[in-house]
Subunit: 310 residues, 2 copies
């Protein structure tokens, strides 16, 4: 048994639906994320003892971190429990995995304090219960990169199979979060349940190419394969000035641009920090003339996923 | 200018539509293929001077090799021409790239005699004209592996982009060709033009995983990712005892099974020659009780593609 009674962790924001990889490809950020404190306590059960930074429910069963932690906790027969404090930096509804960070952080932290009885894949499964509460859909494409780190591919849900892909060292992300309200559930609703087979072929050709690009450090190929002919055409209209921003960002040297998760955040991938910074400036220029608040984050890909901080 | 006046080449059979990789993934065989002689001649133009092994048209514009060769020839302004002899071993309509071998072989051989004015990607584009004649559709998923060798991914058609993927050294194919008639055009017709988005997600998740498996020599992952929920369910009924054969072959240790091209050939991938041989025996057992002629080929993946023989 781990002698630590309490740990403080960083739970990264994540980009899901990476262009061609709708529902399967996700990526963890390095410089944006929540902090959480996970603490053993004498009372049995899971308790959300504090949430700073956002108005979110403290009742365990109504909180995504609580629900995810309970899914894990119920598998064990412990005579003690856990308290969870959440320090939110990721805004809910931003499309960069706010609920996933909390869900994944909770189960990762508890597993750590218990000396890792569960595999990362099992933790993913528990964390997905938080996602089910958040969006009605137990998807894994945010919790997987949060837990595995780097860039992940969800190959299959039945059984759950997650592959951690390699990530070229100079791959940077720039993410703009226009502060408009856009609920995951609504954004999913506008997607048609049927697609043209030719669009499917475009996606699986490009997912294969993207994965090849990751293994060969081929930034050009990574960029060319960041194509989305399925979700983007339907969701872009929900995001002000999406097409203008995309055009400008590609012109400024980014490898590719897409909608993060189900939006409204927009991500760009770039080779190197300088281009990622330029991309941020370009994004700012497009958005500062609008009457919409926004945040911009520049971040390297987070290779290790959730981790302990002091 | 190449001083050779004539070369004899091997043009491999190929498997396209590799399970999850419908229309994008293809693979070249080592032990099955046509032979062709390409010879410079004084008369301008492309001439099919001999075809042995099959009844196929000798008129250049009606022959896939002729049409592909013409596509290349028209780009140049030569004061001589080429004669092509074709020794067919691949049966037309088998689903293992009979027309692709002829089309690709013709352009590759001519390019070789001209000291390679064209890239392999350009040759692919010319060879696709042969495919257009054969099936009404200028697809690249057979001609690409024939020309590049190994396992190829057609990322995009506009512009044409082909990626040669790595191929684990012990990857073997076993292919059974039940000698029933099944035309590519007919087999394409039964495919619906719309698919469920969830089936698309299954395909691109598995294409990503398949590519990852190739880069990491992960045979288990390669096997798990050989899933086809789009073409196979619709085409399997056109091939006698497809499901029985698939079940038996997977039981005998093969990594995965699928329909080669648009059928009727069925391919299996295996780790190592022994399992590939077992797979062949299993295929034989299933088919020998039927009143259908069949061929079975065991082959390593052909890494180099079309090549010169003596």
């Amino acid at each position: 048994m781990n002698t630590l009674k309490e740990i403080r962790i960083f739970a990264p924001a994540t980009i899901a639906n990476l262009a061609c990889g709708f529902d399967v490809l996700g990526l963890a950020l390095d410089s944006v994320g929540d902090e959480m404190v996970i603490r053993k306590c004498d009372s049995k059960g899971i308790f959300i003892s504090k949430i700073i930074g956002q108005e979110l429910p403290l009742e365990t069963e109504k909180n995504v971190a609580g629900v995810a932690a309970l899914a894990l906790y119920k598998k064990l027969n412990l005579d003690f429990g856990f308290e969870i404090e959440i320090y939110k930096n990721i805004k809910p509804g931003s499309g960069i995995g706010s609920s996933a960070a909390s869900s994944a952080g909770a189960v990762w932290g508890i597993n750590e304090l218990l000396d890792k009885p569960f595999s990362v894949l099992e933790l993913t499964q528990f964390a997905m219960e938080g996602e089910r509460l958040a969006s009605g859909n137990a998807h894994a494409d945010n919790v997987a990169p949060a837990l595995f780190g780097g860039i992940t591919l969800v190959r299959s849900y039945a059984p759950l199979d997650v592959i951690k892909l390699p990530c070229p060292n100079e791959l940077y992300t720039t993410v703009i979060h226009p502060q408009i309200e856009l609920k995951t559930a609504d954004s999913r609703k506008i997607l048609k349940s049927q697609i043209a087979i030719k669009d499917g072929v475009t996606h699986w050709g490009n997912v294969g190419a993207f994965v090849s690009g990751l293994y060969t450090d081929n930034y050009e190929l990574i960029g060319k394969s960041l194509i989305d002919v399925i979700a983007e055409p339907q969701r872009a209209d929900l995001i002000p000035f999406y097409h203008e921003l995309k055009r400008a960002v590609l012109k400024s040297g980014a490898l590719g641009v897409g909608i993060s998760g189900s939006g409204p955040s927009i991500f760009a991938l770039s080779k190197g920090k300088e281009i990622a910074k330029n991309t941020a400036k370009t994004m700012q220029k497009v958005y500062e003339k609008l009457d919409i608040d926004f945040d911009i984050h520049i971040s390297k890909v987070n290779q290790q996923g959730i981790n302990i901080i002091n």
